[in-house]
Symmetry: C2
Subunit: 313 residues, 2 copies
């Protein structure tokens, strides 16, 4: 089952569920007693199973094409992300990372948009090395502390797709990534959460990132340095994992460019710290798509940010 | 004027204002049209000035001793913090930082409690190097992008005190601080926000951290590598600063221990990566106080976290 948030003519924000990714039902229509707050739905014991049963018994739904999808989490307590968690990405950057612990940092809610919404590219005078990062997103359901690795997946409600858009110049301004991972509307996640039982074992899936239709990243999800269960267990040593916390699991390296891929082979057009064949920065009017088998496609157009001039509000 | 959030017998959460730090009025009593959401009050043009005028004309208030202070921001979009921003702290760690850009990372709402609430020390088998970091907190009022340095302070609604409690072992697990700066209830801020006009120029103030009554940090706020205005301007290049965003400005180094300060001189009791004379870790049953001239005292007792055993919920 897919769990999503949407806006339509009648509501600014509501939750929906979909079995087929083509039609959906509003959660309040299936289960009027459930609140329209995803953190509460994710944290309520049995709520997702109940919704799946109601959905299976429901009549035809409304077409998803009639609504606007929103970032389904709203303002979660924590949007975690892992740096340098694919061996191919570690190799291409030449950076080091611990082999024992996940390499974790945080993003703000304001740094993400939903599927279909525009990702905002910084003005050129601010930054030019604006990169996609296709990632698997893990959504916490059951809260917990000191979760053993072997019980960790029980605390995962489901999975989504993340574009962990990164502004390389700012990311390298200092030793912590800071603002470089938190530009306004620089990333996205969605289009929905697929429940854990429907997705199955993450390591059996694969991820692919396309920029303007050209595949730029492709990897199995079995190449992670630190896996989903280990990361969940690690975080729970420090704080109470909360329903709706999200963890983006890191991005694979660039796919080597094809023979005729002029853009992908032209390192002179790269402004980042690690020029890499096959890497192409995101720019206004591009379209970036990230596909994870079993989850669907996260697709966003790119637009130019407003000029870098002072404005209040 | 002081702006605060409180809980009492009648309400789970409301806003208050205080002129003297001894008595207060509820915001809804002075201005019933203002919502009980601090981000809206901070972002409403003229709302703080209007509250100050209403407060000056109001009768005697209720004693602050009758209420429980809460973290006044709730769930802000961003809790930023600066690493290595005092020359004395840079010297004691031996770490490097950029001289051109602030060294920024994020904390979650769950990592902070309010003044008077207990800060939670990790179980010893999880971590022992749990350190206070007394800091000046900057609270954004007027939203904006690409804010020039010379206009930056106009976007500051006021200032508060932050204890940026840090778990050193976890902070050093990898190159990003990650979980080490985000343990559950490991830090605090408050007791309130003092408006910008009442606080004046931050560089003319000073900060002092006391653990169990012994002064452990003391510094002027003119020792910052990157100042308040520069940091506000920098962040606004990347995203729209929002009312209620907070920036903790970094912590000074340890004060050298007195001749008779056995604990402060005993490096064998330190578990962190940078043993430093005068540094003493926080432990259960301690009390940590941070005082900033013009802001007051942020005071928290320390309690032990529950044992490191698996629990759901």
């Amino acid at each position: 089952m897919r769990l999503l948030a949407f806006r339509d003519a009648d509501t600014d924000r509501a939750l929906g569920v979909s079995a087929d990714g083509i039609t959906f039902h509003a959660v309040t229509a299936l289960a009027p007693d459930l609140p329209n707050q995803i953190e509460i739905v994710l944290g309520s014991n049995g709520a997702l199973d109940r919704l799946a049963a109601l959905l299976a018994a429901a009549g035809p739904g409304r077409p998803l094409s009639q609504i606007t999808l929103l970032p389904f989490l709203g303002r979660a307590n924590a949007f975690w992300a892992l740096a340098l968690n694919f061996k191919t990405h570690i190799a291409e950057t030449g950076l080091t990372t611990s082999l024992d612990y996940p390499h974790l940092f945080l993003r703000t809610a304001a740094s993400y948009v939903g599927s279909g919404e525009p990702i905002v590219a910084p003005p050129e005078q601010v930054a030019r090395a604006f990169d996609y990062e296709g990632e698997l997103g893990v959504v916490i359901g059951k809260p917990g502390r000191h979760i053993p690795v072997e019980r960790a997946l029980e605390h995962v409600a489901g999975y989504t797709i993340v574009n962990e858009g990164s502004v390389r110049e700012y990311q390298m301004h200092n030793r912590q990534f800071g603002l470089g991972k938190n530009f306004e509307a620089s990333g996205s996640y969605g289009p929905w959460m697929v429940t854990r039982d429907a997705f199955g074992d993450p390591t059996r899936h694969s991820i692919e990132t396309r920029l303007n239709g050209i595949v730029r990243q492709r990897s199995g999800l079995d190449d992670l340095l630190v896996g989903v269960a280990q990361t969940v267990a690690y975080l729970s040593k420090g704080y109470r994992l909360r329903p709706g916390d999200m963890i983006a699991m890191g991005t694979p390296g660039a796919l080597p460019p094809a023979e005729n891929d002029t853009e992908g082979r032209d390192l002179s057009r790269q402004y980042g710290p690690f020029p890499t064949p096959g890497l192409v920065h995101m720019r206004p009017d591009d379209r970036v798509e990230i596909e994870v088998s079993g989850l669907g496609v996260l697709s966003n157009p790119l637009i130019a940010d407003e000029p870098a001039s002072y404005r209040i509000g």
